[in-house]
């Protein structure tokens, strides 16, 4: 008797070693990495300074907050949800941190106050989505609006200088000699999240919930807990990104995160995740965030009118999604 049709048998996985499996797992990510290098080289042809160590460091430093935020958004998108509140969480975190410092709290206490923004809003998002059963888009759109307006309310719209002169160390200090801290945060989070997603049961549960939440429930996966955790982590990481950014800029602005929400979703999508859930990787999100930053940086160096940057980014998102579609169709 036959249970496999000839057509299906030909496309089955071939048993192979670890490297082969790794290559097939990360094929989307490798494609983005190659595309990113090509884009950066193209920019470098036009403006050789783009490839200088100094500029690449700038790109990394500018990308760090987006990278961190994208990791959080990724977790939610893997479960099939969406988090639109991250940009506002980012801004409000900066304002609360700055406010706490202005009131004489130390750097650590102020940072904790800032992180609590992400925890509170993340939990609120998660609870409303999982236990009340509201649509993630609507819930996080509401918290986006609320947190966004609160960022203005707390200081009546004024920006706050960061009073602790050593606060910049959070971003640019070196806990490990030779490696600036923003790079350290990104690497730690990348390794931690990618490892958890692939090699820890909890990570697999995120994919399971995103793949089919009803099936996941029947299988016995604690779907509510998984979803809640994803939104909590997304809020927390958006807050952390906000703190890292504030320490870099040394100034808290109510509008700081305004453009980041769409950029972080774009980064996750460029990185190969599906908005329907069930797919995506931290490496992809990192590469997606870097890609967006490189394009902006390149456009600035070449002297493209900044009004065009959105068009370029939009086209890149479309190309990434189309290429992904084409390669999947061929497989």
């Amino acid at each position: 008797m036959k249970s496999i049709t000839p057509a299906l048998a030909s496309e089955r996985y071939r048993p192979g070693g670890g490297l082969r499996r790794l290559l097939s797992t990360y094929r989307t990510e490798m494609a983005i990495a190659i595309a990113m290098v090509i884009v950066e080289l193209a920019v470098g042809m036009a403006v050789p300074a783009a490839l200088s160590g100094g500029n690449l460091t700038n790109v990394m430093q500018a990308a760090a907050p987006l990278v961190i935020m994208s990791f959080g958004v990724l977790l939610v998108i893997i479960t099939g949800g969406i988090d639109l509140s991250v940009g506002s969480v980012f801004s409000l975190t900066g304002m609360i941190t700055g406010l706490a410092m202005a009131h004489g709290f130390g750097a650590i206490a102020s940072s904790m106050a800032g992180l609590s923004v992400g925890i509170v809003i993340g939990l609120a998002n998660g609870a409303l989505v999982t236990f009340v059963g509201l649509a993630p888009f609507v819930v996080t759109l509401s918290t986006y609006a609320i947190a966004g307006s609160l960022s203005f309310i707390v200081t009546n719209g004024n920006s706050l200088p960061i009073s602790d002169p050593n606060y910049w160390l959070l971003d640019s200090g070196t806990l490990i000699p030779g490696m600036p801290n923003y790079l350290l945060w990104c690497l730690l989070l990348l390794v931690g999240i990618e490892f958890s997603l692939r090699k820890v049961v909890a990570g697999r549960w995120l994919y399971a919930v995103g793949s089919s939440s009803s099936s996941a429930r029947v299988i016995g996966i604690p779907v509510n807990r998984v979803r809640l955790t994803a939104y909590l982590l997304s809020g927390l990481l958006a807050s952390f990104a906000g703190i890292v950014s504030v320490s870099y800029v040394s100034n808290a602005e109510a509008t700081a995160g305004a453009s980041l929400m769409l950029q972080s979703i774009a980064a996750v999508v460029i990185g190969g995740a599906s908005l329907f859930g069930g797919t995506g990787s931290a490496i992809g999100a990192l590469l997606g965030a870097l890609m967006i930053t490189i394009i902006q940086n390149g456009a600035n160096l070449i002297g493209v009118n900044s009004f065009w940057q959105g068009t370029v980014t939009g086209i890149v998102i479309l190309i990434a999604v189309l290429l992904d579609r084409i390669t999947k169709a061929r497989r």
């Binding site: 008797m1 036959k2 249970s3 496999i4 049709t5 000839p6 299906l8 048998a9 496309e11 089955r12 996985y13 048993p15 692939r198 090699k199 820890v200 049961v201 909890a202 990570g203 697999r204 549960w205 994919y207 399971a208 995103g210 793949s211 089919s212 009803s214 099936s215 996941a216 429930r217 029947v218 299988i219 016995g220 996966i221 604690p222 807990r225 859930g277 069930g278 797919t279």
Partner: protein, 510 residues
Amino acid sequence: MGSQPGSQPYLLSARSVVKHFGPTSVLKGFDLSIARGEVHAFLGGNGAGKSTLIKIISGQHERDGGTLEFDGEALGASVGAHRDAGAIAVVNQELALLPHLSVAENIAMPRLRRAARPYRERVAETIAMEALSLIDPRFARESVRRRVGDLTLHERQLVEIARSLGSGAKLLLLDEPTANLTAAETGRLFAVIRRLVADTELAVLFVSHRMREIRQIADVCTVIRDGKTAIDRVRLDRITDSEIIECMGQSIVPDDSAAKPGSPTPRAAARSDVSAAQHGAIVVKHAHISLTVAPGTIVGLAGAPTGPIALIETLTGAAAAHVWDVTCNGVPMIYANCAAAARAGVGFVSGDRANKGMLGTLPIIDNLMAARRIVERRYFARNEELMEGMGLIEALNMRVRSLWDLPSTLSGGTQQKLLVARWLALKPKLLVLEEPTRGVDIRTKREIYALIRKMAAQGTAVIWWSTEYIELAELCDRVLAFDLDGRPASVLHGEEVNEAQLANATGMAA
């Protein structure tokens, strides 16, 4: 009526279980007792409450009343209250698979119960290999690493069953597990069940509409009718098929009610009408096989799923024609998509009721009118649609409370009738059916047969894929049999259309 000696407590006892969905009460005080180490057949008509009870036992639905005792402990009523133990495994009619994940991970997933534990792909693959090899070693080797989303429906069913078999549960709830299996796979599944039952005292609750399967595998049966226990734990060797069927529904329509002499049957009418019928006949050609489907005739498709599916996709415009050449009066019937096919007079009822049949979020009236709106390019809902809808519901004796209810409030059989009813008033040139009677009780099956005959009598050519040879034998003038590789093997005519010949031609026993 209990026959098991009461010396040992039952593994599961359900007492007076009650369940409502809104105002509809599905279970009205149902009792069920399952002993360790038995295969317990659970029978009942369509909509009698079988699937609901299974979901209550497995913790997917809350119950509204009654008690459940499992392995000496009372089970809470809330959803998921008793899932964590992993002692009750379930295969629902709707498969609970994760399409983005690999076969291995799907099978291993229920065993990963701690969030902070490491996940190892190799371990998952080993678990999956063991479980899958019980049913089909070759499929196991070839498929553990494939994504479940890339599998066929039939292969997914294997994965789902393998997962439940390998779960180490004490009680296995199987809701029509064999619906998509071949005879060989069913045979292996039964062998595994017997072995597990003998070795581990596993108890199995087995739902099927196929009496022959039930006789093969089950020891005891319980029959549910109208939400209540009609037969409680009777040994199958002490009861006949007709006694069981009698208990399942008050009025079973007799076997040949639709084809009674008096009025000529559509089958006979079509035969006597052959010369006239040739005009407008649809000719289906493959390399060496040609089949003419005249208006008013019912032609069956039988055999391994891939063959019929390829032909059906060509006929309905779902996929580009590669191997099949379809013409009507010499004109090729090639359609860019299903809508074009529908407008050209090709009706289609998909076997994938949930995903390709019902519009789950739209009320019944929209579901009934879906095809008509496409065919007639109706862009606005019209008032007379309500009359048309009421007419269809009355004509087909469908149990529908309101045209504005969602289709999910209907039983599976009524939903299936609704899907066929979509095409009734349109009088299509060709109607293509994919297993319209799958998972439907005997009485509703009869009604669907009558409906198909009625459409044939209107002059529609019917092409019907079924895995049940008995019904093909009963309804079809001719059957196109496919071999196990999905190639058309032969066309059976008239008296050749019987179970033995069909099994021979397709390589699959019924």
